[in-house]
Symmetry: D2
Subunit: 264 residues, 4 copies
Amino acid sequence: MKILFLGDIIGKGGRKAVSRYLPGLQQHFQPDFTIANGENSAGGFGLTRSVYSEMKFHHIDIITSGNHIWDKKEVMGMFQDFHDILRPANYPPGVPGSGCGIFTSEQSTQTIAVLNLIGRTFMGGSYDCPFRTADALLESLPSEIKTIFVDFHAEATSEKLAMLHYLAGRVSAIVGTHTHIQTADERIFKGTAYLTDAGMCGSFHSIIGMSEASIMPRFLQGMPTKLEVQTSDTALMGVFIETDEQGKAIHIERIASIEQRHQP
Amino acid sequence: MKILFLGDIIGKGGRKAVSRYLPGLQQHFQPDFTIANGENSAGGFGLTRSVYSEMKFHHIDIITSGNHIWDKKEVMGMFQDFHDILRPANYPPGVPGSGCGIFTSEQSTQTIAVLNLIGRTFMGGSYDCPFRTADALLESLPSEIKTIFVDFHAEATSEKLAMLHYLAGRVSAIVGTHTHIQTADERIFKGTAYLTDAGMCGSFHSIIGMSEASIMPRFLQGMPTKLEVQTSDTALMGVFIETDEQGKAIHIERIASIEQRHQP
Amino acid sequence: MKILFLGDIIGKGGRKAVSRYLPGLQQHFQPDFTIANGENSAGGFGLTRSVYSEMKFHHIDIITSGNHIWDKKEVMGMFQDFHDILRPANYPPGVPGSGCGIFTSEQSTQTIAVLNLIGRTFMGGSYDCPFRTADALLESLPSEIKTIFVDFHAEATSEKLAMLHYLAGRVSAIVGTHTHIQTADERIFKGTAYLTDAGMCGSFHSIIGMSEASIMPRFLQGMPTKLEVQTSDTALMGVFIETDEQGKAIHIERIASIEQRHQP
Amino acid sequence: MKILFLGDIIGKGGRKAVSRYLPGLQQHFQPDFTIANGENSAGGFGLTRSVYSEMKFHHIDIITSGNHIWDKKEVMGMFQDFHDILRPANYPPGVPGSGCGIFTSEQSTQTIAVLNLIGRTFMGGSYDCPFRTADALLESLPSEIKTIFVDFHAEATSEKLAMLHYLAGRVSAIVGTHTHIQTADERIFKGTAYLTDAGMCGSFHSIIGMSEASIMPRFLQGMPTKLEVQTSDTALMGVFIETDEQGKAIHIERIASIEQRHQP
Ligand SMILES: [Fe+2]
Ligand SMILES: [Fe+2]
Ligand SMILES: [Fe+2]
Ligand SMILES: [Fe+2]
Ligand SMILES: [Fe+2]
Ligand SMILES: [Fe+2]
Ligand SMILES: [Fe+2]
Ligand SMILES: [Fe+2]
């Protein structure tokens, strides 16, 4: 099975990158599933119906997310209407939405399980254990599901690698999100494809997708600021993964379509 | 000028990687300076005289560091004896050691200034502002110094990119350390070469250089553990940077010498 | 000199408590200065001109603050117009407002210096060292100023006590704010009156001034919420301090005017 | 039922305070149960068999704890031998020890359930939800148990008050520990006695039980230090609670036996 995954889409800058680069990538990789993290897709914070439609127009099959998924209140009603939107599974019981889904490809007859988890180190929230949540969800999957993709939305590199070592051999792929910067440590370990962070879709010459002007007072003056999405240039980052019929990863390849990497 | 920089060297696993891969890299790149972050080089925590000697034997010219530099008490006396060991410059006044040095190459007649800074987001310490510290140090450098290399030891991707935008055009290179995972976002921006994190030297199939067994109880059971360096396989990560005569970056290239990236 | 200090005033609930209890306390204690922390006085977040007027109507002479002072944008222009509003002094240079002021009593001819500082442990911001900022400000005060009052806005009990030990004998009083819960550890140590936290003015049977309904989802479900001030009952907490002519503390007394402490 | 609870006992300084003040308090209050938080009782970090014996000698019936309970490895074997040592119940399954016990008084025929919980805000660990853990444990208690005492070991005042509002009417008392500073907000709310923090047993003129010399470099220089227990003066802090036959709290009274509160 072929899976194309895109890191956090950051507002309009990110959506521009998707519309510019995704069609060509889908053409090139012929993925059975295109998955993207959409927690920042609407104005940099959260997800709306209109942005959801835009993502579906671009043949994004499944939308994962993270801590920012709640930022637009509209999302509360969307989970019921659209089962292809996930939020991290280790939110406590009773939280709207689901963190795990089984999907059948429109392009093929392939079936995939997608798990969305959130880390706890430096994440500040009140989340359940992502490791035991993963155990329970894997247990609950029908045995005929062979390919399992995990988006682990977390800050600390140690927690992300811990998840790899914990789930290695039990899932097809674990890809990190949340830091918005792509890491270069892609690997296959005991049948599991892994990348600490997929990066983001948005302006490359920004501060994790946001404008320099809107972020710098936080660091220089200790003052709260309203973050503004930067749209000056476009970049799409993600990862392409291929699995065998048993769901074992056989290929992992980072993707970085960057309008202009160097701006000397 | 040619600069070879290695990410955090993690104990014996990291030193094995250095002895295995560094000679070949130095042969290949012919750097004027080899710089390495040594905060974890002795047993995973801190730096000792014996490890320092080992690093000098391998022609590491300058050793930068971070929050773990204090872990072996022996280091306190070393700063006076060895001016090629730096600790982050934005430790408060009165802290032993220095965070900035000017060095002349033994291999050539080139001169470089090296700045070591530490971030504050998710870092927990009581550090001075790294941005204003950088301003003051840059101000203090003799104008004939053209090439300035910054090791910014920090956790948050946003803070590291903020430093790039703050210092762009004023320094030759900013390379991040501390997360132990190499990022894939190398770039030249307004004459400054940049990489969010250089990664580490140590076991690739570990949890940021440490053994799975020693880290997992922290995540699974919430219990403190003694971390143990993993030595099962070797990897060296870093970056090669070239500057012109004005100190402007003209080339940046990630380095990852990995014994076995995939362990299917 | 007699100083009456009130902990963080929390929105309408806090202002009700002030109007209900403060006149009687001023009558009773006859303070030369009434000082209050106003960072939460407008809707629970920040300070406005209208709330400022209300506080002046109640003869609050000086308003200190903390991390929430920026929450209403209106405050930016207020610092210039009203020199009796302070924000923590260890915000970096260039931040609007001042963290230290010298005030002469309208009620008497007494003069006091008030310092406002913010802690860094668990506070998440980019603040300068509160200890060295205190050193510099104390150095800058005219020697005829004998009475110096410090509002140290901080979370960690260790950092607050560290400030006591650092400044003991150099200032008249250090009173903590920010946790909204009054501590019972008032003392005089080397001439300095000290209380880890003054508490707050607001609803006692709330969650630090906010409604149970608005806070609980943060803890139970890990979801962001909009906090709502609770106004169901009123309580005023603070501290009364008396100094001798040399500025040495000779008396400290906690104040807690609580409409109904027990709600069985 | 009469319950005497002591806040975190800090090493030798704390044990001196216990031996000096506890006998008189037990004489005075005639408690059915004396409970103390022992997480710092051995050298400031953890608990040993010898310290345990000392606490039993002083008729401490039940020992609760917190994040520091693991600091002396010896404790691992003690949970099996001594069922009157608790660690927070919301450590993940599989962690040694128990966080809930039912105890019968040696002094009377009274029976009490004691719950130990740990908070997550600013606590950094990987703990399960303390609220749902409390639900599950309360559910599991035999209905004939009327008196339920909770030691909630947590940093944030908001999380502690959230626990009060969550458990009000379902338990007899909730007393916070961990900050080492006693708060002054004791109350009875819907039948539940509550105090945000009981404080500590140890040197009052210290920094949360530790010496100024051993803590200050952390704040002033950002450097790690080895903390040393201070023993210069003694203070015992805690709380006395009385419940009716239905387990409803009818009285709460703070206790602070301080050798010398003011040290002018
Ligand atoms: Fe994101
Ligand atoms: Fe995120
Ligand atoms: Fe490191
Ligand atoms: Fe580090
Ligand atoms: Fe406040
Ligand atoms: Fe505050
Ligand atoms: Fe403690
Ligand atoms: Fe603790």
